[in-house]
Symmetry: C2
Subunit: 347 residues, 2 copies
DNA sequence: CAAGTTTAGACAAACGTTTGTCTAATTGTC
DNA sequence: GACAATTAGACAAACGTTTGTCTAAACTTG
């Protein structure tokens, strides 16, 4: 009596609508109407109750799979990102995931390591697995091929029709960073430019240059570091800092591209006998988890990464509900003052 | 001529097998046979070629969704884990993801924050979305409800029938750690026990105690720290270390539960004017990314987290292919000596 | 009590595949 | 040239849903 009708011994098939209907002596359609609360169908309360009880008894779970065949939503999305296991992306995806799971959506995680062919084939493969939409983090989607699904970008590179981009307010970020250093008396500042494949590189650099001009802070080529390596390790900033030191042009602060490179900078300076922050201030960017517990703890510009993820997810769900969404959403950075910056030493 | 048959203007439906068949003037079944290279069907090379060309032309992608309805595989799995955005889990999932994507599988990422009800409902929800199997990382699956799908555990808590568990060789890990400290002359060692919900806590503690006994290293209650808070921040070890210091019982080394708590320990010691490693050695566990770039860099027991992830994924794929798999796979830890441990000071 | 209306639910098609069975046309054999 | 055997492919059922249309019985109204 307790086992679902026509269950075979060896393959514990999940209870289907059909099995439930058979058990109840009703048609599948009737059961479907009740379980989905379809309006305009006259089914007496007694029958409804009977159906709901049977569904609970057999722990009936509708097959999303079969549903999508009817043009319904799978309640699943795909998340495209360059890399797993890196602080930045992990934070964003954690925000995306939080919101999606909370709303009853599941998500595929897909990493592409910036490979163009993967980036262009994954959306179709995701679609064939029934996803309803896509969130792409720090991903360069090609402009020619139209996306097969509703899409939201986080720190997106490109502008695409119907695609919402969630980005940091880079201008404000640059202002927070440079004003902080300026107010501590720094005038000889080394700048660091991100890797060319990173989506934020260009925007941030432009904003930084603009603010530097406004504040009258000079930007020298010899005090500019260009990151190249596609690496998640602090070592990326080693060679740049070494060159700076050997250049002999004095500097009192380094404005880093992110916290990772800031950690590398601290270490490179440390090894050269330069103290942080007593001799040189180091300013990070992002505020990843470990920034707080680094020695010295990093003064940094916090990107609300989780929030950006949550926002992107929320907007995607709106798109899926056919609500109108903006093309661009800016989020505000925040200056977090810790130990790695200090007033410039009097000479 | 270039557009698929019966394509509507507004809904760019993906080309289906049916559309392809209609376009070719063949039946869907014939097209299916050719595209799937079904043996035992006599279809001339000329027709085969025609079909394959049309498929390429319209970029036909079979709907995995419809396939699973026929009892086929979706080529997708679900990955259950407590938390995103934490070094440990991020590393493992990165390994899982690498292997799965490489084999043409996609995966849902599902975090449950150790909530029992979520852990027990997610497998069914994943199944209703068509996943073929499950990888569960550091997750306490209940023993009473049989799992609806093939499953592999990483650092699993429980022994379940048909479920493979991928775990660290805890005994070796404890030996590497304690022998290292022992050989540096440490005898008064503080031990740290993990949070009760963490899967490794019990096994590791037992192994550590066993090795301590073998080496004749005493374990005092006053020198034992118990972690409680479910947090990803180094602060978890603060109170424990403070108590240790105020206890006045001398110790020369701390064996930490993981790298995160090791970082917290270093900071707590530092604030009390105790130098690491000159006064006290600190040994971490895991070797997460930031361990290398901490100041001082952490001596630690490396868990091959990525490898564990890859192994788990590989075994799951074997299960899906109906190959037999072991119930237990042990992976070997490695001692990574860095700056946070040193020979015990002579007095 | 006849006609109309409401109630309660069945029936069938559709979604995009796979796969077992069937058939018509062609080829081969004696 | 009759028969069998092969070839080339169509047909239909099935998977688990949703949903538009249909029907039989019960109830209402005059």
């Amino acid at each position: 009596m307790t086992k679902p009708p026509s269950s075979s011994l060896h393959a514990p098939r999940r209870t289907s609508l059909k099995m439930l209907a058979e058990y109840l002596g009703l048609s599948p359609s009737t059961v479907s109407f009740v379980l989905n609360d379809v309006p305009g169908r006259s089914i007496p309360e007694s029958t409804r109750k009977r159906i709901k009880e049977a569904a609970a008894k057999f722990n009936y779970q509708p097959s999303m799979i079969a549903r999508t065949l009817q043009g319904k939503r799978m309640q699943a999305v795909g998340v495209l990102l360059p890399e797993l296991g890196d602080g930045y992306h992990a934070q964003v995806i954690s925000g995306v995931g939080d919101l999606l799971m909370h709303e009853g959506f599941f998500y595929f995680t897909v990493h592409h390591r910036h490979k163009k062919d993967l980036v262009s084939t994954y959306p179709e493969l995701l679609r064939s697995r029934g996803v309803d939409g896509i969130v792409a983090i720090d991903t360069h989607l090609s402009e020619d091929k139209p996306l097969p699904l509703p899409t939201v970008l986080v720190a997106g590179h490109t502008e695409l029709p119907d695609v919402t981009n969630v980005v940091l307010n880079h201008k404000l970020a640059a202002e927070l960073a440079l004003r902080h250093l300026y107010e501590l008396g720094h005038r000889r500042i080394a700048f660091m430019q991100g890797q060319p494949f990173s989506s934020d590189t260009d925007n941030r650099w432009a904003a930084t240059m603009e603010v530097a001009r406004e504040l009258g802070i000079p930007v020298h080529d010899e005090l500019t570091i260009h990151l190249h390596k596609d690496s998640l390790s602090p070592e990326i900033s080693y060679p740049g800092i070494r060159r700076l030191i050997s250049n002999k042009r004095r500097f009192t602060a380094v404005l880093c591209f992110n916290d990772i490179s800031a950690m590398g900078s601290v270490r490179a300076l440390h090894e050269a006998g330069i103290r942080v922050p007593e001799d040189v201030s180091v300013l990070g960017f992002d505020d990843i988890q470990s920034a707080q517990f680094h020695v010295p703890s990093l003064t940094t510009i916090r990107q609300p990464l989780q929030k950006m993820g949550r926002t992107a997810a929320r907007i995607l769900l709106k798109k899926l509900a056919n609500e109108t969404t903006p093309d661009l959403v800016q989020v505000e950075p925040e200056l977090i003052v810790r130990e790695s910056t200090a007033r410039v030493a009097k000479r």
